[in-house]
């Protein structure tokens, strides 16, 4: 079965620090990878996605992620975090459904707290 691992449960950073959140997946086939963000009191929003092509993907709000196929990884990065980045971050990978479509398999999430 498909699985997604996010190694950090809670990350605490000061403003302007650099961020890297780890994500590893188990699916060996062609993958589509996503990072979602959930700000306090809000619903899940797509941060960035990888379908094909350049393995370095740029998303909204200065976030980027790098797909490293050999490591089954899709780590999220941001050079300088802001207090407003405080949120929970979920990595997800497509998993095939019987119907020929896909569901998303999510990691357990990483809570990021940015201290002003």
């Amino acid at each position: 079965a498909q699985s997604v691992s996010q190694h950090n449960h809670h990350v605490i950073l000061s403003e302007a620090a650099s961020l890297e959140l780890g994500c590893n997946y188990s699916y060996g086939g062609t993958v589509n990878l996503f990072w979602y963000v959930q700000y306090p009191g809000q619903h899940l929003q797509l941060l960035l996605k990888y379908f094909s092509g350049d393995p370095l993907v740029k998303g909204i709000k200065g976030f980027e992620a790098e797909f490293i196929k050999s490591k089954f990884s899709f780590n999220l990065r941001k050079p300088s975090v802001q207090w407003s980045d405080t949120a929970e971050y979920f990595c997800a990978v497509n998993s095939p459904l019987r119907a020929g479509s896909y569901q998303l398999t999510f990691g357990k999430g990483t809570k990021l707290s940015v201290i002003p």
Partner: protein, 115 residues
């Protein structure tokens, strides 16, 4: 434009009661998904609709769970004889028709508390 909406936003129910959760997808999205998010856990896939058929129900945790969808619009998730372990946030997502249905747009969720 309008996003995915879900109702109610919060539901508190007594153990053993039935509950019905509603999802209104983005207009034109033929794919609809239900997920469950338990406290401290990632999202758990429940069921997928393409149009009004549910070709994959593999994620439903028990026969107390069922879901329907009217055409390519509203969907309802019904939980019968609720148990305390059903307490979670239930999220609905919609997306374009497969195979381009990789992108899923999430609603705000319904927080279900079973007492």
């Amino acid at each position: 434009g309008a996003g995915v909406s879900q109702s109610p936003s919060n539901k508190v129910t007594e153990k053993g009661k039935d509950v019905e959760l509603r999802c209104d997808p983005i207009s034109g999205h033929t794919a609809l998904y239900w997920y469950r998010q338990r406290l401290g856990q990632g999202l758990e896939f429940l069921i997928y609709f393409q149009g009004n058929s549910a070709p994959d129900k593999s994620g439903l945790p028990s026969d107390r769970f069922s879901a329907e969808r009217t055409g390519e619009s509203v969907s309802t998730l019904t939980i019968q004889r609720t148990q305390q372990e059903d307490s979670a946030v239930y999220l609905c997502a919609s997306g374009p028709r497969a195979p381009n249905g990789f992108e899923q747009y999430f609603g705000p969720g319904t927080r279900l508390t079973v007492t």
